[in-house]
Amino acid sequence: MLKIENISKGFNQHQVLKDISLEIEAGSIFALVGPNGAGKTTLIRAIMGIIFPDQGRVLLDDEDLLNDAQLKEKVAYIPEAHHFYPNFNGLQLAQLFRMTYKSWDEARYQELKKEFNLPEKKKFKHLSKGMKTQTAFLLNLPLHPELLILDEPTSGLDPMVRKKILNLIVDEVASNGTTVIISSHNLLELERICDSFGILSQGKVVLSQRVDNLKEEVQKVQVAFEDGLPAEIGQHPGLLSMEQVGKVYTLVLQDPELLDLINKAKPVLFEKLDISMEEIFMSVMGGYGNDQ
């Protein structure tokens, strides 16, 4: 299990992370979502010990990841902007990983190498963005890490490569019980693979939940009333978002008490609708934005 405890970080008098605490179950895929500038990449860099958090700890299986560099043997990290040595070719990078990690699985590397079919003698700086991403996966997956941290792994990739990469992530979790933290803006994609997710906004975790629990907790309903929407429903803090077309309202609710209120108001139309992660995200962010 990965525990992030009270991580805070400020840059130039601006607090980027504000007392972030998260618990991520072992062997699960955790999606870290949030608008641009929410602090996702900063949080990931703090977890990896690349930047020093102002306060807080990161515990991997109860061991302090920030104070023990050796523990990173169990962690693989793929950032959005790949920071491999630009003048190294694929063979040199593989050799660097082979020499660095005791857990390096040569057979898995050879298998992935055939699958990706990348030019291994070309310098990293001369590869396309898609090839760079694939190189990063080719080098990190043979480590069979306990924790795999991915920052926007599929951004800018074509759909075929994106699908291949997502399948590899799911396979890794299924076969090795790897815990995955994945930061992305592609909520549709994340919904397909993640078990739980956390929404980060303005440096704070505004929601962290298992996807199945969240879909029970957050509901989308379509309702209509004879005399319009009662004020006690429209102003209820559990109402995350509301759209109106004529007399029909589409509501996203987080509080079960609201459903009781709706039933008591005797709607002429009441229908529960499927809700996507993207709609949950938009509703939560909209509500959160209004609070600011």
Binding site: I50, I51, P79, H83, Y85, L96
Partner: protein, 306 residues
């Protein structure tokens, strides 16, 4: 602390630079073979130019390249602590300087033993001294640049700081002297010659040029160790999110602004000495304010680019 993987990584990242610098150092044995005029004198004088160039280049690039290409993030994501990363970088760079100079020296020695004409004009002791000087000058220049590489957030900024501070005390005294010409009769009763002499002695550039003063060598080596020690302490505390900025420690920005303002004020004042003391004071103020604003602009610009 020695790590084969990190040394291998350093070799693969810096191989071209090291081999290029090694090639330059082999100018000495090659020049001796072809009998280039003046080469014996240069060896006897203990010319340290190439060794200094080697030290400066490695001192700037060993951390600067990582900052430039953002590879420091990757390096720090590997299971190596900062202490180990720094130690192996030092082993590679300082070991490289010693090794390349040693090979160049062995070549010179082989040529010396094989040629009686050279033996008659060049003593074997001057070759030993030459090796020692190359290593001392190379290591000191490396350590001096390394200090600025751990303070500055980019390779260019580290290079500029290296140039400024290598001549700093002497340059500063010279600026004060230039301004004092106008006021000397009224305000200053100082022997500027002595002050400039001390300023020059305290300038790092003088330390690496003082090859003909053997008494200074232990001091230069001690200074080298101190500089590496301070750089190590700073690297352990380097905030990596500041890579790309002029300085990685924001608490130093006020000192930088004040320092630049004083120097630009003195420079502007020195330019205006011909116009008399009133003009000099006006230029002094304009130079100081201009220096402050320009530095503040550069800091803001570098922060926005990160």
């Amino acid at each position: 602390m020695i790590n084969k993987t990190l040394l291998w990584k350093e070799w693969n990242s810096n191989r071209s630079i090291l081999l290029f610098l090694a090639g330059i150092l082999f100018i000495y044995p090659i020049s001796l073979i072809v009998g280039m005029p003046g080469i014996v004198n240069r060896l006897q004088d203990g010319e340290t130019l190439y060794a200094v160039a080697m030290g400066i280049t490695l001192g700037l690039t060993i951390l600067g390249q990582e900052r430039k290409y953002n590879t420091m993030d990757f390096l720090l994501s590997l299971p190596f602590g900062r202490k180990r990363i720094f130690t192996n970088k030092m082993l590679f760079a300082m070991g490289g300087i010693i090794f390349v100079n040693l090979v160049s020296y062995l070549c010179l020695l082989a040529i010396w033993f094989g040629n009686s004409d050279i033996q008659s004009v060049l003593s074997i002791n001057s070759l030993h001294t030459f090796l020692y000087l190359q290593i001392v000058a190379g290591l000191f220049s490396f350590a001096f640049c390394l200090l600025f590489s751990t303070l500055a957030g980019s390779l260019v900024a580290a290079g500029i700081f290296t140039i400024i501070f290598s001549i700093f005390p002497a340059g500063f005294v010279a600026l004060v002297m230039s301004n004092a010409i106008t006021f000397s009769s009224n305000f200053f009763q100082i022997n500027w010659g002595t002050v400039l002499d001390w300023g020059t002695k305290l300038s790092p550039v003088d330390a690496i040029m003082s090859y003909n003063i053997p008494m200074r060598w232990p001091w230069i080596l001690t200074a080298t160790l101190v500089l590496v020690g301070v750089s190590y302490w700073l690297f352990l505390r380097n905030p990596m999110e500041k890579n790309g900025e002029i300085l990685v420690f924001p608490s130093l920005y006020p000192i930088l602004k004040i320092g630049v303002s004083i120097c630009t004020a003195l420079l502007a004042g020195a330019i205006a000495t011909m116009g008399g003391s009133v003009w000099q004071i006006v230029f002094f103020i304009l130079g100081g304010v201009g220096g402050w604003l320009f530095t503040a602009y550069l800091i803001r610009r570098s922060q926005n680019q990160v």
